[in-house]
């Protein structure tokens, strides 16, 4: 099977083009470098089965973010049969830089001149034939959003696969001084053959540009001393300059007409990035986003809740075996129901985030918040993971991949569990609803979000002071042009992020639900079929852990429920329900009538749930994204901080005469 890789600068419509080619819908976004995972799809053309890989957006080969490494290694090491370089027609000059690098690497390049429609709209005229002639590779104008030019692109890919040439490929002349050095290194390379690289000239250039990946391979070798002598920062700069010089020259020849127009993006940026209004506008958008999330989703959640209690009742009245009936009704229906009610708010939040991201606004948030964040030792880009973390910490942590600097990235990941994800909301809602009334309940819930952000920011500052000394890495970010979000794209985007929760609900949470049910109704005789929960296994366990939570004034049931939150925080609700012997809406009343919490201890419990221990899904993604020691450190600090904050809340409460 033939392999075709799709590559290009961020925000050029790569992923959309990929979707067009393969018909497989994938994550599309506007945050530079959003495509962080390898995405594959297939199509066939002319009897040839073609495997397409969508690579992360990159600007060049020398910077060191994970995304760029993935893309570079794939092109250089895996050597795909064809590399499709997607270019933004309206920004030819900068995009040409990567095209030159790809051609230089010896890749079989086909250029997709994307966003052709926007270039035309702006009155730009690009000479495609001249473009092909100058670079010596096929060039196809495309509009990925509408599908225009996709057939022609498939044809061009097919011809490239069959080895049809488009004239002589462009070769860059770097000028006498650099060329001498290249020759010198090529000579050294003859003596120590390095296989698996495009050409000696390419390796020589990478060395002169001080590409760490290549340098590290030579550092241990015999010729390192000879190579090291030739390295010169000035030469490295000269190589890049030469390439850009060529880019400008090429662009000037290819673009026949260009008008300077004030675009919608210019106007919108004047508003959204306004010195005074920028932050208030962002706050207003954030508020609207949460409002939408909670009010729009409420009827759907109610429906799901009703459905499961109806299903449970049917099971109870139709299954004669008592244990089985209890398993289906109290275990599966009640347990899953209490978790699935959160699907609507979670999907609504992700939908809102997708709209913000796909429209191009999310990148502006980084700009607006940069000054404030840098005061707390955070990078401007750290705000996106925080925002996504409100939906779920798992994609939030993954969003940190676009941060190049390792320290900045690890700090951003380590504080993410403190961002109150939507899975914690049900726990707050349950407790606040039971121990507070009216406005105070809403205020108590809202305060959890504020507490989370405050702690996250303080933790970032602390980590920067203690562990990751030094400055925040410089802030450089391309702001994409604003685009009208497409409903279908935003829905796919929402689905890709939200499905994590459904997978969790179907696996981890389902298992927890069954465990809770089993532990709370067995031994069957002693509990009288789950009616006397004090005699159950869970009660035995609860009594063992009781002393840990006693100083905080929490009942053994409340303490026990926390353990179920390890697997997924929303399981705490199900556990509390099971421990109270209630389900659905009944849990509120049962909790309100129980003497588990006073308003003060209930509030401290909410804070504890916010902070303590990242859930299993978050832990697994943390382990994947950073070293084990940082994950362990995160676990340790969250547990300690949870106890500290809970004690503090109760202590301060007592000072004010609350009990």
């Amino acid at each position: 099977m033939k392999v075709v890789a799709i590559v290009g600068n961020p925000n050029v419509g790569k992923t959309e083009l990929f979707n067009r080619l393969t018909g497989l819908n994938q994550h599309v976004g506007n945050w530079p470098g959003v495509t962080v995972e390898k995405k594959e799809g297939k199509y066939s053309y002319g009897g040839e089965e073609i495997n397409v890989i969508d690579l992360p957006g990159i600007y060049g080969f020398t910077t060191r973010s994970i995304d760029e490494k993935i893309a570079k290694n794939f092109i250089v090491k895996n050597r795909p049969d064809v590399v499709v370089d997607v270019i933004d027609s309206t920004n030819l000059e900068r995009n040409l830089y990567l095209a030159l690098l790809l051609i230089e690497s010896g890749a079989n390049v086909v250029i997709a001149l994307n966003m052709w429609d926007i270039a035309k709209e702006r009155g730009m005229e690009i000479d495609v034939r001249r473009f092909e002639g100058l670079l010596g590779v096929p060039v196809v104008p495309t509009v990925a959003t509408t599908g225009e030019g996709i057939e022609e692109l498939k044809k061009a890919i097919f011809r490239a696969l069959k080895g049809k040439k488009k004239g002589k490929k462009i070769k860059i002349d770097y000028g006498h001084e650099v060329e001498e050095k290249i020759k010198h290194i090529e000579k050294i390379l003859e003596r120590c053959r390095k296989d698996g690289y495009p050409s000696p000239r390419w390796v020589a250039l990478r060395i002169l540009e001080e590409d760490e990946d290549i340098l590290s391979e030579f550092r241990k070798g015999n010729y390192w001393k000879d190579i090291e002598k030739l390295l010169d920062e000035r030469i490295a700069g000269k190589i890049v300059e030469k390439r850009y010089e060529l880019c400008s020259k090429l662009a000037a020849e290819i673009i026949k007409e260009k008008k300077e127009v004030k675009t919608l993006t210019d106007i919108l940026d004047e508003i959204f990035l306004h010195k005074v209004l920028g932050i208030p506008i962002f706050m207003a958008i954030l508020y609207a986003m949460f409002q939408f999330t909670f009010s729009f989703s409420a009827p759907f959640s109610d429906g799901i809740s009703l459905f499961f209690s109806w299903l449970g009742n049917i099971a109870k009245s139709n299954i004669s075996n008592e244990v089985l009936a209890s398993f289906v009704a109290d275990g599966i229906c009640a347990g899953l129901g209490s978790v699935l009610v959160f699907v609507p708010p979670i999907f609504c939040l992700f939908f809102a985030l997708s709209i913000l991201e796909d429209s191009g606004y999310l990148a502006r948030v980084a700009f607006v918040m940069e000054k404030i964040l840098s005061k707390f030792g955070l990078h401007g880009k750290s705000f996106i993971p925080i925002l996504v973390g409100f939906g779920c910490n798992v994609p939030g942590i993954m969003a940190a991949r676009t941060i190049e600097n390792e320290s900045d990235r690890i700090i951003t990941i380590m504080i993410n569990p403190l961002i109150s994800c939507s899975a914690r909301l049900p726990v707050y809602a349950l407790i606040a609803g039971a121990v507070f009334h009216g406005y105070t309940a809403g205020a108590a819930i809202y305060s959890m979000y504020v507490l989370g952000i405050t702690l996250a920011v303080l933790m970032a500052l602390l980590l920067r002071k203690l562990l990751f000394k030094g400055e925040v890495s410089p802030f450089i970010l391309e702001l994409p042009r604003y685009t009208k979000p497409k409903l279908s794209t935003s829905i796919i985007h929402m689905w890709n992020r939200g499905k994590w929760f459904l997978i969790k609900a179907g696996t981890f949470i389902f298992i927890v639900v069954i465990i809770i049910w089993f532990l709370s109704v067995f031994p069957w005789e002693a509990t009288n079929g789950g009616k006397i929960i004090e005699n159950s296994y869970i009660a035995m366990f609860g009594r063992i852990v009781e002393p840990v939570f006693k100083p905080l004034g929490w009942s053994w049931q409340a303490g026990t429920a926390l353990f179920f939150g390890f697997l997924a925080k929303e399981s705490i609700v199900g556990a509390i329900g099971a421990l109270l012997g209630a389900e659905g809406e009944g849990v509120y009343n049962a909790l309100a009538n129980s003497n588990w919490f006073t308003p003060l201890t209930g509030f401290a419990y909410m804070a504890f749930v916010l902070i303590y221990f990242p859930c299993v899904a978050t832990l697994s993604v943390m382990l994947r994204e950073m070293k084990l020691k940082y994950t362990l450190l995160t676990v340790a600090y969250t547990v300690l901080l949870a106890f500290a904050v809970a004690f503090m809340i109760e202590f301060i409460g007592h000072l004010f005469g609350l009990s």
Binding site: T63, V240, Y244, E370, S473, P474, I476, E478, L479
Partner: protein, 78 residues
């Protein structure tokens, strides 16, 4: 010949030609790849003291922190 000044001193709407970038090689690389190379022309779109700047280079919009903007030396263009 116009004076050479740091990019950070330019106001919104002013233009300059990059002369050199003084700073760590990591930063230089990143800026180069974004198109901020010597002889490239930049236009300052937004500059909020002391926050980040938004500049236009070859049609793309690049946000840069105040700190690095001070390290990009430009020749002011009329």
């Amino acid at each position: 010949m116009n004076r050479i000044v740091p990019l950070s001193s330019l106001m919104s709407g002013e233009r300059g030609e990059v002369v050199e970038i003084v700073g760590g090689r990591g930063v230089i690389r990143r800026l180069y790849e974004m198109g901020l190379v010597p002889f490239s022309r930049v236009e300052v779109l937004i500059s909020h003291m002391p926050g980040p700047m938004l500049v236009k280079v070859n049609g793309s919009r690049i946000a840069i922190g105040r700190g690095i903007a001070m390290k990009i030396m430009v020749r002011k263009l009329p």
